[in-house]
Point group: C2
């Protein structure tokens, strides 16, 4: 929607042609692209930057010394599932990536690849869902783009979002910040998103009654950072699950991660579904959870701050950071033994996000 294909330069006296599905000409950059943007995207997303209709959205940096910039493409299938849809996912996924650097997410871009024949009603639902998620997160969608591909070439639509967050000087949160003695905190039960999507695909063979946890976590992060300056690592365990995320942190920080199996929360319905499917919830995707590595002295105050927020109510400590074994995740099991928790191998749940 940026560049003459884009959200800009909406050509003036333009009757909106009533159509009920996407056709190739919606990707032409000409009249029908303008109509699509003017008729479908702008009304819900309206803001001065988008309305200006230029090749790029121009926004102030404020007093920020640094930017955190992230991107995610979203190809989840099906487009709608219990607790969410591709639109909410596209906004929250990128908001969360930016927030995990300790930055305040402010601006999003949205790039759509639409399949010829996609019903406008579906696109409208997705766009509205993005509006609601952006509103909840407090971010503005300031640039966009639409392309159209032939029937069969995308499953309805794919959405890419990129996010820009503002970061004050000083804050230093990243995967390399974990230190021996730190406490690992998880913001709530794992595996909800993956099982909810699987359930929507009808691949469970039974009704799981699990809702995806998709949520914007930036307000949770803000509460944590207000409570403590000893938050060393923040990360959201999405694809690859908690196990993969913790391995990433162990590798980046060159430390050992020691988890206590009994402390890792899994909802009974998720546990039951995983049991039947032969999945380990440690590898199932989440879209509204974060894992934090916090200085031991500050763990309690961070937990308290988390529990006072909507998406951190169920926060728990799940383990500690040790010097050794470096770049490795160990699980202390309920019977007291240790096992190595590796990263996800192969593919468990394709197109989960």
């Amino acid at each position: 929607m940026s560049n003459p294909s884009g959200f800009q330069g909406l050509v003036c006296p333009m009757p909106i042609t009533r159509r009920d599905q996407v056709v190739m000409a919606h990707g032409s950059g000409g009249r029908m692209t303008h109509e699509l943007i003017k008729g479908l995207f702008l009304p819900p997303w309206d803001n001065p930057v988008l309305r200006a209709g230029d090749d790029a959205g121009v926004v102030p940096t404020g007093s920020a010394a640094r930017l955190a910039v992230s991107t995610d493409s979203h190809v989840v299938w099906p487009l709608f599932f219990p607790g969410g849809d591709i639109g909410r996912l596209a906004v929250c996924g990128t908001v969360n990536d930016v927030a995990m650097m300790g930055a305040v997410p402010k601006y999003l871009t949205a790039g759509f690849i639409l399949e010829e024949g996609l019903a406008f009603e579906v696109l409208e639902r997705v766009v509205e869902s993005m509006r609601l998620a952006a509103e909840e997160a407090g971010v503005q969608i300031i640039a966009g783009d639409t392309k159209v591909v032939q029937r069969g070439k995308a499953d309805g639509l794919y959405i890419n979002t990129a996010g820009v967050g503002l970061l004050a000087d000083g804050a230093a949160i990243g995967g390399a910040g974990a230190r021996s003695g730190d406490v690992i905190i998880l913001s709530g039960p794992i595996g909800d998103h993956g099982i909810a999507v699987l359930s929507a695909r009808g691949e469970l063979g039974f009704e799981a009654e699990v809702q995806s946890d998709i949520a914007p976590l930036n307000h949770l992060v803000e509460a944590m950072l207000r409570a403590s300056d000893q938050v060393h690592v923040l990360r959201d365990p999405t694809r690859g699950g908690l196990a993969t995320t913790l391995n990433e942190i162990a590798a980046q920080s060159q430390v050992g991660v020691v988890l206590e199996e009994d402390r890792i929360p899994v909802r009974p319905a998720v546990a039951a579904a995983c049991e039947i499917l032969g999945f380990d919830p440690l590898y199932v995707a989440n879209e509204g959870k974060l894992v934090a590595v916090v200085g031991a002295d500050h763990a309690e105050r961070v937990l308290e701050a988390m529990r006072r927020t909507r998406y951190g109510e169920e926060a728990v400590p799940i383990g500690v950071i040790q010097e050794e074994p470096k770049a490795c995740v160990l699980m202390k099991t309920s019977i007291g033994s240790h096992r190595i928790v590796d990263v996800l191998s192969g593919e468990m749940l394709p197109r989960i996000c």
Copy 2:
């Protein structure tokens, strides 16, 4: 590649499995995703921000008061064509959108949607092409993401890029800035990109020997802005062509655009191809051209500055801005009559970018 699917947290002792094509597990967020990123994307694109492997790239704002942020998804088919490929397009398209605001493009994100079965050799060529284009433009790719969809669900790959540019206080370039009396400058001949892609599809029925004009235009823009503070509008006429872009400017600025047909450069091979296909080159996509609206007193010095740069050598004035008719583009033909030049209706060349 940002978020546990992403470029971050590259897990440590990791033998790169030799494979020669994309499989679904490359989108898992687990070991194979890490291998793909570590083996294929990082070596050519290596920079400290990407190497940090966090959820978002963190970069300084410098003394910039504002940001210009843009995005484009790229679905061009075929992936390679005379003069360029989807990778060069993805970098230049977004660099140019940011530059058209008068901003200095600095950072890009790259989101890949890969089709199962895509040959690594193809992906490597695209990634290398992106490296070269980013180097030429002087921008860094600081965040990425890869997703994999099933065979048939994408044509090899789609690429989304988002770009962030830094913008000093004061600069005010945008589609609404054209004023009566301003001169319209075009940076070179139109239609090359569209005809080159069409030729690569074999849809011409003959050999056109036209190269795409894909190029990063940010250095050209810098030269123009150094030469004059009277550059009011900059825009790159991509999808929809020059006609659509000028209509956008006419609408945003509420002015009339008057073009002189004889002054609009079209290469003979492009003109010949358009003649045969029944296309008007005014509507054919460009990827390395810009149109500028400049205060009349400064037109000559801007033209001179343009002609001293690689991508502005063939710059020419093509028309003027008038008060009336508002939101309208008129063409003065070679025989002295006027005709209205409308925006592109329908779809002429699907999947051109």
